[in-house]
């Protein structure tokens, strides 16, 4: 017997009679695993999270008797583990406890401990008799069994090479998946389609802004296009006949450049008459056509302004001037 074989045999001797307790201990190690680096933590924690409560459930259900084996056992245990994660969340919700990493772990630990106790107890009290003195129970073959099942009765499951083939298949499958994704990731991909945007910045504009002796409106232009583009920026008073509000600007923007801008709005001339005016800022790209409209590509943003009511102003008549209080938030 080699040293490796001896070690395996001793490990089996320690593991088999008390596996539920060992499994519980492994599940408990999730608390320690949280301190591990993220990459290692995921690789160790994911199988523990699903396999430990699930295999304990199978153990608690079947005891020392023949339960599912091999791939069926692994799949069943993993799915039961996922089911326990669902039940734990539902239990926490029902108990009005916030679902957090800690609360979920504690809840699953309690469940696993209960299952481990049942599984261990069944293992202790239902252990089949061994040795020459053990009386072999007479087993009748159920007439409902198929030919295959009748042939399988009494065939030791461990006498095959299932674990080797299955482990090799899982390793190969994971390798192919990882290799496929790696290869795809390292192939050339088309560059993302670029775009440009313009928006107000600062406090969000809500409703009409009051203008008392003028105001400043801040905006941002972001250019996520390849290459440099020349833009023309204009601010206008919008109405039946639009009027320029400020002297237009022409400037160039390179790839992934961001420009901050400020529009200084002058004091409105009308004093106590609460008129609302719309300001429209328009950005136009030179030599760039909108593929849908076939017109020059433009971007625009609007703001409504009105003069602020002062103490000296007479109260406005209801229905005449509409909204009185101007809000800028």
């Amino acid at each position: 017997m080699t040293g490796g074989d001896a070690l395996m045999r001793s490990a089996r001797r320690v593991w088999l009679p008390t596996w539920p307790l060992w499994t519980l201990l492994i599940f408990g190690s999730l608390a320690v695993l949280r301190l591990a680096p993220a990459d290692y933590r995921a690789a160790a924690a994911a199988p523990i999270l699903f396999m430990a409560p699930g295999s304990l459930t199978v153990g608690a259900a079947f005891g020392a008797r023949h339960g599912p084996k091999g791939a069926v056992f692994v799949c069943l245990a993993a799915l039961l583990g996922a089911a326990w994660a669902v039940f734990a969340s539902l239990a926490l919700y029902a108990l009005n406890i916030r679902i957090t990493p800690d609360s979920t772990f504690r809840c699953l630990l309690i469940v696993s401990a209960a299952l481990a106790i049942v599984a261990q107890a069944r293992l202790l009290f239902e252990r089949p008799a061994r040795g020459r003195r053990a009386v072999r129970r007479h087993e009748t073959v159920d007439t409902d069994l198929s030919d295959t099942e009748i042939r399988a009765v009494g065939v030791p499951v461990a006498a095959n090479r299932t674990p080797f083939y299955s482990l090799a298949a899982v390793a190969a499958g994971i390798g192919l998946l990882a290799g496929g994704v790696f290869a795809y990731d390292h192939l050339s991909h088309p560059a993302p389609v670029g775009y440009t945007w313009m928006a107000w910045t600062g406090k969000p504009i809500k409703g009409t802004m009051s203008v008392s002796g003028g105001t400043e409106l801040h905006f941002e232009i972001v250019h996520h296009q390849s290459g440099s583009t020349t833009f023309h920026l204009a601010a206008e008073w919008f109405g039946k006949a639009t009027q320029p509000l400020a002297k237009p600007l022409t400037f160039s923007m390179g790839q992934n450049q961001t420009f901050q801008g400020t529009l200084y709005v002058p004091a409105l001339p009308t004093g106590c008459i609460h008129r609302i005016y719309r300001i429209v800022m328009t950005l136009t790209a030179s030599h760039q056509t909108d593929p849908l409209t076939k017109k020059p590509q433009t971007w625009s943003i609007d703001a409504d302004v009105q003069d602020q009511k002062t103490m000296a102003c007479p109260p406005s008549r209801p229905g005449h001037h509409g909204r009185h209080k101007v809000h800028t938030t």
């Binding site: 995921a42 669902v86 916030r98 409902d144 993302p192 919008f238 002058p266 590509q297």
Partner: protein, 668 residues
């Protein structure tokens, strides 16, 4: 084995292996190398398919690469499984490999984040659990999913335990469910008494159903629930057939635990599970079918488990998810009505593959799938009949169970008619993933009989050509099954496709949503179209309006300068519910969405009918609408602040504008 026996013989006097054994071992090495080579080449071809799809304009080469790859992957696995000489323990291993490798197409489709419509909704639901620590938080994209938190809770638990991102955890879980599904079908077939070879082949045939490669691998509740359902059936069947009371109890407990998880995960799976369990229980209760040793105990077990599952599902629908019935009920009635109208000549049926981007041979293969299924099902039924006659399927629980699962499978054929009804097509397609569970229990025995029959042919040529024919049929069924499922835009990456659920997310849309969240905060109530809403409702963490005939929020897109918002109550509903933002994708005025829907399925037909022209003038006039303020504009997206209800003072602007001048300053 003694210690000496286990030692390898190193002495040179060891007897040489006979020539036949040596030849056989060389054969095995060659077979292994060829198999490994086919798997590697298959994966490489699938990767190439996705690369071609992403980098070139739509043509058929991505489909050719894809199928070359998938056939190189799947046919050798099927061939090894059906091979008589393959060792028994190798078949579960081959199924594990099949389960893992068939996840590759979906993994390449969305390696880094959600892509499909429903995935965004489930991503948001999981995010809500992680951020609020509570279940059942409202979902803005698909409201009903908030009442079925199974998948989200499991994903959140994995995120909490591992520190992975939501998408990484979801992918890990989905791979697990996909592999467990394949093993589950084989386990179910074995629990029905089928041998290892037939059971493994049944699992391969299950992989031909239209949902297997894409729909049931997406991050959505059905992907988890259908796997749970299969394993509930494994436990259910094993409990019914178990000889001892303890074994019955053990399998029964596992079945109940898994069915509880199914109920908490997906409505349709829960309903289907109850229906299958009822059918199985009825079949087991029929004395002419099932009476035999342990029959009464089997009947009691079947009905007990069915009643427990039904009670759990009923309680969930009544107390937790009362909206489920109203969510699901319109479809069957509507589709029946549509079919009746079509038969009477007063209505028209749905045009199959009308807007398909797939090549003709994929579409034609899809029509052959029911033909293939009919053929195999008939052979399967004849095999069962032969088993009954020869005494291999005696009266008892096993016969009743086989009969029940065959009935489940045969329901596939009438369900295919519903694919012609516009309202029933989606339901019919989704039902196939469930119905094929029963169908492949007939396919397995049928395929094994056919393969063994070809082996009995004395002529080598006849044997080879018959086997080639069987593999060709399998390949066509595989191609057709996938083509009958999701659209090509779902399957492959590619250039932007307006209104496509899976190809309409662009860096521009993500950037717009990021700007919105950063400047206006999360949790705003917004009105937008279906595809823009996917990003705003998921990563953007905004709340979306759900337009309907009673709440026609889409009318905002039809507002003209000076005209009233119709119906008049809409402005009060919008302002009362706190809808302050409207997000517009300017392309809607020029293009028809690939999905055929701008906002929701029951939107006015003139929207799509006009080719989007109906929006063109209103969108151009939005700057003149006094109660709308544009705060953001990118190449295609605009964000408007809504000032509702409309104030009289704001209707129209001053005819004269000020002459005062300000100043414009730009800094880098």
């Amino acid at each position: 084995l003694t210690a000496s026996a286990s030692q390898p013989r190193l002495d040179s006097a060891a007897p040489r292996q006979p020539l036949v054994t040596q030849h056989r071992s060389w054969q095995i090495y060659l077979l292994t190398a060829a198999f490994a080579g086919s798997q590697l080449a298959g994966v490489a071809a699938v990767v190439q398919a996705y690369h071609v799809a992403q980098t070139t304009l739509s043509n058929e080469s991505e489909f050719a690469w894809f199928w070359a790859g998938m056939l190189l992957i799947e046919l050798p696995i099927a061939g090894l499984i059906v091979r008589r000489a393959t060792p028994r323990p190798m078949r579960p291993a081959l199924l594990l490999l099949l389960g893992l490798v068939t996840y590759l197409p979906k993994l390449l489709r969305s390696p880094a984040g959600p892509v499909y419509h429903d995935e965004f909704a489930h991503w948001r639901a999981t995010y809500e659990i992680l951020s609020t620590g509570r279940l059942f938080e409202p979902n803005p994209i698909i409201p009903i999913i908030s009442r079925y938190p199974g998948l989200h809770a499991a994903t959140a638990a994995l995120v909490n335990a591992t520190g992975l991102t939501i998408w990484q955890a979801a992918t890990l879980l989905l791979i697990l469910f996909h592999v467990a599904m394949v093993i589950g079908i084989a386990a179910l077939a074995q629990s029905l008494g089928l041998d290892n070879r037939t059971a493994a082949l049944a699992a391969v045939f299950y992989g031909l159903n239209s949902s297997f490669l894409y729909f049931d691998t997406e991050f959505a509740y059905e992907s988890m629930a259908i796997t749970l359902l299969v394993w509930v059936l494994v436990g259910f069947v094993r409990a019914i057939r178990a000889q001892s009371g303890r074994e019955k109890a053990a399998w029964g407990v596992l079945a109940v635990a898994l069915s509880a998880a199914t109920v908490a995960t997906h409505h349709l799976s829960a309903i289907t599970l109850v229906l299958i369990m009822v059918l199985v229980s009825v079949a087991v209760s029929v004395p002419q079918l099932a009476r035999g040793e342990g029959w009464v105990k089997g009947v009691i077990t079947a009905w007990s488990l069915t009643l427990v599952t039904t009670a759990m599902a009923g309680a969930w629908f009544y107390f937790v998810a009362p909206g489920t019935l109203s969510y699901l009920s319109p479809y069957p009635a509507q589709s029946l009505q549509e079919l009746t109208q079509a038969i009477r000549g007063s209505g028209s049926v749905r045009q199959l593959f009308g807007t398909s981007l797939s090549p003709w041979w994929e579409d034609k293969s899809a029509y052959l799938v029911p033909v293939f299924a009919v053929g195999l099902a008939i052979v399967g039924l004849l095999v069962l009949r032969a088993w009954i006659k020869s005494g291999r399927l005696t009266r008892g629980r096993r016969r009743a169970l086989m009969f029940a699962f065959a009935l489940v499978g045969l329901a596939y054929f009438p369900s295919t008619i519903f694919i012609l009804a516009p309202s029933g097509a989606e339901g019919a397609r989704r039902s196939w993933a469930f119905l094929w569970i029963g169908l492949c229990m007939l396919f397995g025995p049928a395929a094994v009989w056919l393969v063994d029959w070809t082996a009995r042919q004395t002529s080598l040529r006849a044997r080879a050509s018959l086997r080639l024919g069987l593999f060709a049929a399998l390949a066509i069924a595989l191609i057709g099954g996938v083509a009958a499922g999701v659209d090509a835009s779902y399957r492959f990456p590619g250039p932007f496709l307006y209104g496509s659920d899976s190809r309409s997310v662009t860096p521009e849309l993500l950037g717009t949503s990021e700007w919105f969240s950063a400047h206006l905060g999360t949790g705003n109530n917004v009105v937008t179209d279906r595809n823009t809403g996917l990003i705003f409702g998921s990563f953007g963490l905004q709340n979306l309006a759900v337009p309907s005939a009673g709440f026609p929020a889409y009318n905002l897109y039809l507002v003209r300068q000076g005209a009233q918002l119709y119906p008049p109550y809409l402005q009060f509903e919008l302002s009362g519910s706190g809808y302050h933002y409207l997000i517009v994708d300017g392309r809607m005025a020029y293009e028809v969405p690939e999905s055929g829907v701008y906002f929701e399925r029951n939107e006015p037909s003139f929207m799509v009918g006009s080719g989007g022209r109906v929006f063109r003038v209103p969108l151009a006039e939005f700057t003149m609408v006094p109660w709308m303020l544009r705060a953001f504009q990118s190449d295609n997206y605009s964000i408007y602040r809504l000032e509702l209800p409309i104030q009289n003072s704001k209707v129209g602007y001053q005819p004269k504008v000020p002459k005062e001048r300000g100043r414009l300053v730009i800094t880098r």
